[in-house]
């Protein structure tokens, strides 16, 4: 632009575009080498640059600059639009598994409490057997205590394994631990749901949740 000898069409042309095209690759070099980064220039360009006619190409960096800006805006805008949909889908999956995991923990907790010694260890004794009942009560008390210890162990294992992070880590079930090939293409809540289901289902079998629930149904029917 600062050229003073603008006496011809060609020169004017060059001058006008000087600040824009000054850094463009020499004509004919249509390939944009993104990895180049403008540092290690091809010999052709170096020679061209040395000749003073054309400066080193900035097109890769120009491209990178605008692609990056576009990418950032694209991510920012679309991310916000999709978080809610993901949350809604994930919430329902988490809620269902949480309910199931909590039920297992609650049942175990209830059993532990049922074996807590505090309010009367053993159901009131049968009348008429007072003589031998003291001995049997002592023995029963002991097995009962052992049983409570074992149930407590199970309860603690359940609390640990059904902790939210443990449930979704999938570390408890070796089959679910590594990401399967097709698991990657699944939606995240589906993956997490499958992992969680494996862990929770194992415990549901242990405490036999369906049986507890089936009993509840019959109880409710006979209640009134």
């Amino acid at each position: 632009m600062t050229s003073t000898h603008s006496d011809g069409q060609t020169i004017v042309h060059q001058d006008t575009l000087d600040d824009i095209f000054g850094s463009s690759p020499p004509r004919g070099d249509g390939i944009i080498n993104d990895q180049d980064g403008g540092q290690g220039l091809p010999r052709e360009q170096q020679q061209a640059a040395l000749s003073g006619n054309v400066e080193p190409s900035d097109l890769p960096s120009l491209r990178r600059q605008h692609v990056t800006a576009g990418y950032r805006d694209g991510v920012a805008e679309s991310k916000g639009q999709h978080i809610q949909a993901g949350f809604d889908a994930g919430y329902a999956v988490g809620a269902r598994l949480g309910m199931r995991a909590g039920t297992v923990i609650g049942i175990l907790e209830g059993i532990v409490r049922g074996y807590d010694g505090k309010n009367g260890t053993i159901r009131k004794q049968q009348p008429g057997t007072a003589g031998e009942s003291t001995a049997t009560t002592e023995a029963a008390k002991k097995t009962r205590q052992e049983k409570r210890e074992e149930i407590l162990r199970r309860y603690r294992a359940a609390v640990r394994e059904l902790d939210m992070h443990a449930v979704f880590a999938g570390s408890d079930t070796p089959t679910a631990a590594p990401l399967q090939g097709d698991e990657k293409s699944e939606k995240p809540e589906v993956q997490l749901g499958a992992r969680g289901d494996a862990v929770v289902a194992k415990w549901e079998t242990q405490v036999n949740v369906p049986l507890w629930e089936a009993n509840m149904d019959t109880l409710e029917m006979t209640k009134e």
Binding site: H13, L62, R63, V67, A69, G70, R72, D73, G74, V75, S78, K79, H82, I83, Q84, G86, F87, D88, G90, Y91, A92, V93, G94, A95, L97, G98, M99, A101, G102, T103, V104, I105, I107, L108, E109, I111, R113, G114, Y115, D116, K118, N119, G120, R123, T143, K147, E150, L152, R154, R156, M164, F168, P188, E189, G196, Q206, W212, N215, M216, E220
Partner: protein
């Protein structure tokens, strides 16, 4: 390439716009996935956190219901044999409802207990709990949880059960060692506060 400077300038601006659009499309696709994943993982966590507590109350209610039924049955037919010594082998521990047979019976003739238990079960019934992230369902779950916590406390008080799980929690060290087991405030605080 017979073109004026203006054309070239336009061409360059178009080029920049093309680059930008190229990046934008790429970003939009990545952002959609990243956003969905972020939301999904967070949603799974939040849903789980909320409902695990509801489930816990439901599980406890199931056990209480079973115990109440056992007690009622026992009361009615007091001739039935108590199976405790036969089934209390630790080796094959049974965690199904039959384990309630060897628990202490619930206080009888307490219609309030039965009523509270029925209400609790109704509040935390998974079949009727909305688990979607809609305003209505979330509010309903919150309300019912609040009510269920109160009901569970009432029942625990009647049964003389501890309300917290500090003594049985996996991280619990020797909390039972604190105090003489009466659980009274004076008992615990006298150990903690040195006058």
């Amino acid at each position: 390439m017979s073109t004026t400077a203006q054309d070239l300038l336009d061409g360059l601006l178009d080029l920049e716009e093309d680059f930008y659009q190229e990046g934008y499309d790429l970003g939009a696709a990545d952002g959609a996935q990243a956003g969905y994943t972020e939301g999904s993982v967070f949603g799974v966590e939040k849903g789980f956190e909320k409902f695990v507590e509801l489930g816990r109350l439901y599980g406890k209610a199931l056990v209480w219901t079973q115990r109440l039924a056992d007690s009622t049955r026992k009361e009615k037919s007091s001739t039935s044999q108590q199976p405790e010594s036969g089934t209390s082998d630790v080796g094959d521990l049974v965690l199904d409802p039959s384990t309630c047979e060897s628990m202490s019976g619930l206080p009888q003739s307490s219609s309030r207990l039965a009523k509270n238990l029925a209400l609790l079960l109704e509040l935390v019934d998974p079949a009727s709990l909305g688990m979607e992230n809609t305003e209505e369902a979330v509010n309903d779950a919150d309300e019912r949880f609040k009510g269920a916590v109160i009901k569970a406390k009432l029942i625990q008080r009647v049964l003389g059960e501890r309300e917290d799980t500090a003594d049985i929690h996996p991280d619990a060290k020797e909390i039972q060692a604190l105090g003489d087991g009466t659980g009274s405030i004076e008992d615990i605080s006298s150990l903690k506060i040195r006058h």
